[in-house]
Amino acid sequence: MTTAVETVHLSKSFAGTAALRDISLAIPSQSIYGVVGANGAGKSTLLRTVIGLYRPDAGDVRVFGTSVPAEAAALRQRIQYVSPDSALPGSFRVDEMIRFTRMVYDRFDADRALRLLKALELPADRRIRALSLGMTMQLRLLLALSTRPELLLLDEPTTGLDPVVRRQFLQLILQEASSGHTTVVLATHHLADVERLVDGMAIFYAGRVVRQGMMEELQRGIKRVQALIDKPISLSEQELNQLPDVLSHDQVGRVHTFVTDKNPEALAAKLTAAGASFVEVVNVDLDELFTHVMRKEGYARDGILLS
């Protein structure tokens, strides 16, 4: 498996505040890769460094094996960055913007642009400043896909889209990724977008990568162990609360739930041996995985009651 994007001990600060700290990542070619994390975790900084908008303070970032800071202009013909923050000239009409982009990119596919324009139902003669937020995002994706990119960087791409358009958007991304020519990196804090789409992901927290891997590896790494304890067992309540490698322990009635990131089978065997019944090891969903990984990092917010 070849690597599309590789960062090696990458760091970047703004005015003394570290946005990326020692990031080492490898994103496999032709995959859909999620970059997830809370607000301000460094997701956008990473994408902007990958496309060469920011220079790394330390370390290196390579795309298709080429160091980005040295070759940014040449690489940018092959990379597209789609973000709700990227500026488009408001006085241009949609068709003018398409023509302009065509002049900038060598591999621009005008047929594809036309087909997307029809499918997305964008008004060709409207000025960009008169487009809604969602239409502007669709125009950005249209322009990006029309350059036939080998690497598509998407930063919170479903912002401002209604459910129907969002679905169409995700379908376009899936199609592009399954074509076998494009690697897609999807940065978002919407786990629901990531869950169905990605092959692998990296979880960011405060400028660091706290966990990364292909989805199967990640899900293998954290499990929930459920057990029914309806009679006294050979473990005391205190012992149950202090089992090793348990990230959380909850109890609803007689059903106990343990989340662990080390050897769930050993924990299940221990509970069974102690006398618990219906002991089961199950997968956690992405929300839960994310919550536990974050809690381990000390990132948790409790619900508050507003009076």
Partner: protein, 134 residues
């Protein structure tokens, strides 16, 4: 298209397995019949807005279990009722599942006769469901 197929990432069952289970259930219920054409991996991935590799993995598993057949250049079809290679092993699992139901029956104080009547009942309504099917 394929409203009988739903994939929910929140369920503890892996997403590819949900596709496998969904298609197997549709075949068992007669919603899909031998020789019916199935969507391509790409089409199904789009319909379900699901990663291409997840759908491909489900199809591989269904092919291994002889539920579906891939004909080069023509597409994917519901299999013609060929017995799966691991039939013996899965029969043992089926037996195990029945034993677990008997444990549950015991605790509900359902005796042998009542259990058999229950099985018969389920079979009859399953058959009816198939007859009124599509």
């Amino acid at each position: 298209m394929y409203p009988w197929l739903r994939v929910d990432p929140k369920l503890p069952v892996a997403m590819y397995q949900q596709i496998v289970d969904g298609i197997k259930e549709s075949v068992a219920k007669g919603l899909l019949r031998a020789g019916d054409k199935l969507p391509s991996v790409r089409e199904l991935s789009m319909t379900l807005t699901l990663n291409h590799n997840t759908v491909a993995k489900a199809y591989q598993e269904l092919e291994r279990e002889r539920v579906i057949e891939v004909v080069r250049g023509r597409g994917t079809f519901v299999g013609e009722g060929v017995l799966p290679p691991d039939r013996e092993e899965r029969l043992r699992e089926l037996r195990g599942a029945l034993e677990r139901l008997l444990v549950e029956a015991h605790h509900l104080q359902v005796g042998e006769a009542e259990f058999l009547a229950l099985v018969h009942d389920v079979l009859v309504s399953w058959r009816r469901q198939k007859e009124v099917g599509p």
